[in-house]
């Protein structure tokens, strides 16, 4: 499951993360997953699974999220974020939250930018995340 995290969250951010950023995202996801309650953990697993497999399920193509275009990944998440099921919308909020946690993980990044991410020109748009371990 954990390998799916960077791709799904990359779709939330609009670009696929590089290796370092993917590690930070996975790290943030792991902490959220470990410390939350059982219901939330199930929800997260379902959310990831849904986001990962839904191109296959919804579009009838034998492709998982990694293999569809970034535009289609985004389109999927837009559909999830506007869905009438509150749980699906909550999933998108959760994805955004984890992406933001990774982005602002280091206090330095927050202080340096003071709510303004200085370097957004990198490959992911996650800005200072590049400096995460």
């Amino acid at each position: 499951m954990i390998r799916q995290v960077p791709v799904v969250l990359g779709a939330v951010c609009g670009r696929e993360p590089n290796e370092v950023e993917a590690r930070a995202l996975t790290d943030a996801w792991s902490i959220v997953a470990q410390r939350s309650n059982r219901l939330a953990r199930w929800g997260m697993a379902l959310a990831l699974g849904f986001a990962w497999w839904s191109p296959l399920l919804l579009q009838g193509t034998p492709r998982t999220l990694r293999r569809v275009s970034p535009q289609r990944r985004e389109a999927l998440l837009v559909r999830m974020s506007q869905h009438r099921w509150p749980v699906l919308r909550e999933f998108v909020l959760l994805f955004k939250f984890v992406a933001a946690l990774a982005r602002f993980r280091e206090e330095q990044a927050v202080q340096a930018s003071h709510f303004k991410v200085g370097d957004a020109s990198g490959p992911t748009g996650l800005g200072d995340l590049r400096r995460a371990p």
């Binding site: 779709a11 939330v12 951010c13 609009g14 670009r15 943030a28 902490i31 959220v32 410390r35 939350s36 309650n37 059982r38 219901l39 939330a40 970034p70 990944r73 985004e74 998440l77 837009v78 974020s81 506007q82 009438r84 099921w85 509150p86 749980v87 919308r89 909550e90 998108v92 909020l93 955004k96 939250f97 992406a99 933001a100 946690l101 982005r103 602002f104 993980r105 280091e106 206090e107 927050v110 003071h114 709510f115 303004k116 991410v117 957004a120 748009g125």
Partner: protein, 497 residues
């Protein structure tokens, strides 16, 4: 077999939040030997995490993921740390409103706890002890100042929030734990005061059962948790010579009582709350949400059943509220300095229930249609206020309406939008009612002394004993009521020596 830590005290208090810490202080002042049990860790001065992720992992119950089981999933935020939820709230102080006092007197017989003479005296003491005062002008921050501007423009009855943070430096980090220990949460006020008089605080001790024999609480049993993994690494048993006080909060107090063998038809029922949601506005100029106190300005609309507040959040949480995904979201989150965020807290009439076991509660709570209408109206007012303050676009943050509102007319139209409960992303931190107090044992689990009916020395002192919600922030009321109940309990315990 893990070893069992054995010890004893006059009074064992389960929980170090507003109720438990206040009770412990009163008991130690009365010369009683007290042990305070806390499931969460103690976070020492200077050790508060800077990153929100670490703060949530260290101090929030279930990392802030405790939610109701039905649609809509409502997040119930609670602290799980020495100081309880007082260590993660904004320190907003309100006295119990007049209408709530009269209601509790007439319907629940709680005259001894809420009559004006005794309650206001307790509030005066708390105000002095915790340095309660309105937020200083220089700490209002850009977020609060904008809300003040909007309230004045629309003729709404706004006011500066009163807080218990006399040395606040405006670092807007209440949620992560005050870095300056300015907010007088229980971990820096009543808990250390109780410790200075001999109380022992045992963090990472999870109470599992109050030992009851022949109508008397004999002590508390539970497990010791590892600081890093939070897995069980030992067991404890503490003998209570005089009394046990359960102050585990509105979700866990009823579960602990049920696991201990207390039986009552109302245990875990009548869960009430003030769920809220937030609105974000984007301005053409920097707002300065990262400076000033976390919450500084409010617009109470008591007759309408809601309260509007400014709420400065860390960027990790603010970005979640910004609409869109992918490139559009990334673009909007590049410069977070131009956003302001305000929230609504609705006094809902819905009543829910807590079931299950300690550690895995099943919480059900569904807002009624009237609650939804109330929240919808408040949401529209907030959006209108944003435009009155000069916002260029506003994000209502609910499904079923446009994600971006661009004019004041669109904002006004929101007040009558046909929204359902499932369209909102509600969050609540004010919880009440699952161990309801009433002098009539048929209508309350605890009596007017906050002692369980049918038991001699088992008390409950936290928000769970409140028979109704209040429409205002409850910390001060929980502390005042606990103070009065603990004073009477101490007198009673000494008289039966």
């Amino acid at each position: 077999m893990r070893p069992v830590q054995e010890s004893s005290a006059d009074v064992v208090v389960v929980g170090t939040g507003a109720g438990g810490a206040t009770a412990a202080k009163v008991f130690t002042d009365a010369g009683l030997e007290v042990v305070l049990l806390e499931e969460g860790p103690r976070i020492n001065r200077g050790a508060q995490p800077r990153a929100l992720l670490d703060a949530m992992a260290g101090a929030f119950r279930n990392m802030g993921s405790q939610a109701t089981a039905r649609v809509p999933p409502i997040v119930f935020l609670q602290g799980c740390v020495v100081g309880g939820s007082t260590a993660i709230n904004s320190g907003i102080i309100w006295r119990m409103p007049e209408d709530v006092r009269r209601d509790w007197e007439t319907r629940f017989g709680l005259h001894d706890l809420v009559s004006d003479a005794v309650l206001d005296q307790a509030f005066d003491t708390l105000d002095r002890d915790l340095g309660v005062a309105p937020v200083a002008r220089e700490l209002l921050g850009g977020n609060g100042l904008l809300m003040e501007k909007a309230a004045m423009a629309m003729g709404l009855p706004g006011e500066v929030i009163s807080r218990n943070a006399p040395g606040c430096k405006g670092s807007a980090r209440c949620l992560q734990g005050c870095p300056n220990h300015a907010r007088q949460s229980m971990d820096v006020s009543y808990v250390p005061q109780a410790e200075s008089r001999g109380a022992r605080v045992l963090p990472l001790h999870r109470a599992q059962r109050v030992v009851l024999k022949r109508g008397r609480a004999q002590g508390v049993e539970g497990t010791v948790l590892d600081r890093v993994t939070r897995r069980v690494c030992g067991r404890f048993r503490i003998h209570a010579r005089r009394a046990v006080v359960v102050s585990a909060g509105t979700i866990h107090s009823p579960l602990l009582l049920a696991q201990s063998g207390v039986r009552h038809g109302l245990l875990g029922r009548r869960l009430q709350s003030h769920p809220g949601c937030a609105v974000v506005g984007r301005f053409t100029h920097p707002v300065g949400m990262g400076t000033g106190a976390t919450q500084t300005y409010e617009v109470p609309q008591r007759s309408r059943g809601y309260k509007l507040e400014s709420l400065s959040l860390p960027p990790e949480l603010l970005t979640v509220r910004i609409p869109g995904v992918g490139a559009a979201w990334r673009e909007r989150t590049q410069d977070l300095s131009r956003y302001a965020q305000w929230c609504v807290q609705a006094r809902m009439e819905a009543q829910g229930r807590v079931r299950g076991r300690l550690g895995s509660p099943r919480i059900t709570y569904t807002p009624t249609p009237r609650d939804v209408a109330r929240s919808t109206e408040a949401l529209g007012v907030l959006c209108e206020m944003m435009f009155a303050a000069g916002a260029e676009e506003v994000y209502p943050g609910v499904s079923g309406v446009p994600p971006i509102v661009r004019s004041v007319d669109e904002a006004r139209a929101l007040k009558g939008a046909p929204l359902r409960a499932g369209d909102f992303h509600f969050l609540a931190s004010h919880l009440f009612g699952t161990v309801c107090a009433c002098t009539d044992p048929r209508h309350g689990v605890v009596n007017g002394e906050l002692r369980c009916h049918e038991t001699d020395n088992l008390y409950v002192m936290d928000g769970s004993v409140f028979p109704t919600n209040m429409g205002v922030n409850p910390q001060h009321s929980i502390m005042a009521v606990s103070m009065l109940a603990a004073q009477r309990a101490a007198e009673r315990l000494r008289s039966t020596e």
